[in-house]
Amino acid sequence: MNNRTARGIFAICLLVFGVCFLWPVLRIVAGGYIVDGTFTLRYLTGVFQNPVYAEGLRNSLMLAIGTTTLTILIGLPLAWLNTRYTFTGKRALSALLLLPMVLPPFVGAIGFQQMFGQYGAINALFRLGPVDWLGRGRYFGVILLQALALYPILYLNAMAALANIDPAMEEAAANMGCAGFRRFRKITLPLMMPGLFAGGTIIFIAAFTELGTPLIMNYNRCASVQVFDALKEISASPFPYALVSVMLLCSVALYTLSKTIFGRHAAAMQNKASTGAVAIKPAGFAACLIPMLFIGVIAIAILPHAGVVLTSFSAPGSWYRSILPEVFTSANYIEALGHEMTLRSIRNSLLFSSLAVILNIGFGLAIALVVVRSSLKSRWLLDALSMIPLAVPGLVMAFGYLAISSTLSNHPRVAQSPTLLMLFDVRVNPTFFLVLAYAVRRLPYMVRSTVAGLQQTSVSLEESAANLGARPGTVLRKITLPLITANIIAGTMLAFAFSMLEVSDSLMLAQRADYYPITKTIYELFQLIGSGTYIAAALGVWAMAFLAATIIGCSLLLGRKMGAIFRI
């Protein structure tokens, strides 16, 4: 790619990035710190002084620490066992271990409530009477649900980190007399750190700002739910802005820390491995124990979602004080697909996600081409910028867009034009901002996937086409794109699937029932008394089936490289 084109793309991306990303962030900062034209830290200190907000932040932080710790405890040993040993059913179990990625914790929480409720399946199974598990352990419930949904990210990162270690590093330690857990602690673990921290950071930020799970679990004393509840005051009080800016700061600080501490050492493996790692077949007891451990984790991880499936098949009110529902029915599914509200939400989600993915493909490809195929000195900046949405929580972005929408719709020119109001006022029509939010949030997946494809494709294939007289556009169309099709499709599928089940943006930006996407509809249905929970569960199952099909397709296309997409 010549430098002129690269500079052009660079400038456009920078502009779009400024408008779609920097503006909302600045708007949040301005909203919390510039009041009546003067800079003040009053509201920031107010956040920490207000006992409710301070408790919310503390609880969110504890949720994030708890979730991250639990994912490490689950994901790290499994990754290590998977790399080191061959065992019965390894391929199938490794694939099933990723299943929670297709099971949004937000939906799982519905099943979890059914099972751990006062009159739920667990109490019925153990004949415990009406023990209020959720009342006592709501906090741990949220951690457990989040950890069970997020551990695959850590597992994939740990696997990639382990695969990256030259086996000679561990052999050298054995050669010096160091073996067993001591070797793991002194050599393997430090070498895995960059990958582990990368995965841990994504999980920490996700758990810190997760909105859906605490909402469904009715755990309201955390910052994300407080922000959600404060949306009504968005144009009246600077407090929500200050609270969101604290969450943003924590996330960005952690992301920066991870990049600066471990980013430099990411290429620490300087020499190509001289030998491949060989997985050993364990003998005796261990041969049974390892697959059992995998099966155990998978079983626990899918338990909440099994609860959702059971809920979706149970007649309203029939799963009460019993281990399983007493009356099964498919009526909920029929209603879920026959109800105007649910049908409309599926249509909306498909439209929003498709539009977002089109934006993703265009920008993802353009950014990847500049990053991999140009010689611009500042191309690293574009690469780094496109990854930042991973560091900025969806909740923060959604809040920023809401703030912008609020500002724009109050502008006299916008307020007088119905067309502009349709575009910019989320209370009238949130399509524009939802599409933008979905696209920005999923851009990193698209960029990483496309960059990986381009890096694996020799530039000489393109040069030879140019050498035979093909123009740059023709080279792109006839050579480059066909060669990286699998990567683009994989990135597209992931971006599309995650947009379909996006929670934070959807809950916050969609404010009119006509424009509710699937997740907001599930949330609204769940809150209805009567059959609402059951229809919500059925809609959740439809969504999970859809996401499962997408992820399976994606992993077939990408194979082992899947892990690379979930890194920062």
Partner: protein, 358 residues
């Protein structure tokens, strides 16, 4: 103290049926710099990794001194290894890398610091003690890897193609450096390479391997001058091979009839008349007859067919009765011309008689 290494009937077949070691037996003497030489896939690295404990052989034994280490786990074998990729741990400094093995042996902090510094001084890397591996050049990393392996005073040192990641010039310097360090440490060292020049230049003795079997064991001079098989002759340096039949013995020489003519070969092996043999003749052993009246043995008429001038030598392809031979002329005054006819001669001691393939 240096210990001998004895390998007896070592066998290893990898899953998929690849036989990497086929009854390999070797006696490596204490304090010797011993080379395992052979092409890719000959089993030399498998043999070295078997000694280190990273490959478990199917059968056979490995003794270091009187200690049978065949069934010991790698971390209990006390063999210092220099890896092809050096395997310096990137998260530790050079000093920490070198001190690691001593820490594992539970030495006192003072003893570790002293021994680490001495080891780094031995490889002239003391000034880089606090650097991280990625701040060092390939040659420097190589030295540190050597220091790390030697500082634990192992019973034997294992080197797995240690120079293969270095550029040509540095490789030449490091060859002698490795020999100097090994000899100053007085250690038994086993060195794997596929580079014959590396082996010829610094080995005390070497074993040539092919297809998991030992083809020949000897000093560099023995292996080069008296190759035991056609494979060894072809792998170590270049050789012209010609088939022939023994016609009679004349004192210390055999008279052999070949398509190129009758040749005399110095040979003390009892080949009977009528035996089919293969002769191996080095290109540099084929000389041009400068004085027509001289009384050289093994005179052959030849026509020059190709000339490659390399500065320090000229390499010719000559045709002798329809057979093409290679001939190298060192420090040539004149260059032969293509098409020129000439007389060539070979000293009988340079004609090596090998068993003909069955």
């Amino acid at each position: 103290m240096a210990e001998p290494v004895t390998i007896q009937n070592l066998q290893k077949t990898f899953p998929g049926g690849v036989r990497a070691l086929d009854k390999v037996s070797l006696e490596i003497q204490a304090g010797e710099l011993f080379f395992l030489l052979g092409p890719s896939g000959c089993g030399k690295t498998t043999l070295l990794r078997s000694i280190a404990g990273f490959v478990i052989p199917d059968a056979g034994s490995i003794h270091v001194g009187s200690r049978d280490i065949s069934r010991l786990p790698a971390h209990k074998r006390d063999t210092g290894m220099v890896f092809q990729s050096y395997a310096l741990w990137p998260h530790l400094t050079i000093r920490q890398n070198v001190a690691f093995g001593l820490e594992m042996r539970g030495l006192t902090k003072h003893a570790i610091a002293k021994a680490t510094l001495e080891a780094l001084e031995r490889v002239q890397m003391q000034e880089k003690a606090d650097a991280k591996p990625n701040e060092l050049s390939g040659g420097q990393q190589q030295r540190v890897a050597l220091a790390r392996a030697l500082v634990i005073e192992p019973q034997c040192l294992l080197l797995d193609e240690p120079l293969s990641n270095l550029d040509a010039k540095l490789r030449l310097d490091m060859r002698q450096e490795i020999r100097r360090i090994c000899k100053s440490a007085g250690i038994t060292a086993i060195y794997v390479t596929h580079d014959q020049k590396e082996a010829l230049s610094i080995a005390d003795r070497m074993a040539v391997l092919a297809q998991g079997r030992v083809q020949q064991v000897g000093t560099p001079r023995e292996v080069y001058r008296q190759p035991a098989t056609a494979f060894v002759a072809g792998f170590i340096g270049e050789a012209n091979f010609v088939e022939g039949t023994v016609t009679q013995r004349r004192d210390a020489c055999l008279e052999i009839e070949t398509p190129a003519g009758i040749l005399l070969a110095e040979c003390d092996q009892p080949f009977a008349a009528g035996t089919h043999v293969t002769l191996s003749i080095r290109p540099e052993a084929v000389h041009k007859v400068e004085d027509a009246s001289s009384d050289h043995p093994n005179r052959l008429p030849a026509t020059c067919r190709q000339v490659v001038y390399l500065g320090e030598s000229a390499q010719y392809l000559v045709e002798i009765k329809g057979i093409f031979w290679k001939r190298h002329d060192w420090n040539p005054d004149d260059i032969d011309r293509v098409g020129e006819t000439e007389w060539l001669w070979i000293a009988p001691r340079d004609v090596v008689v090998l068993q003909a393939p069955p």
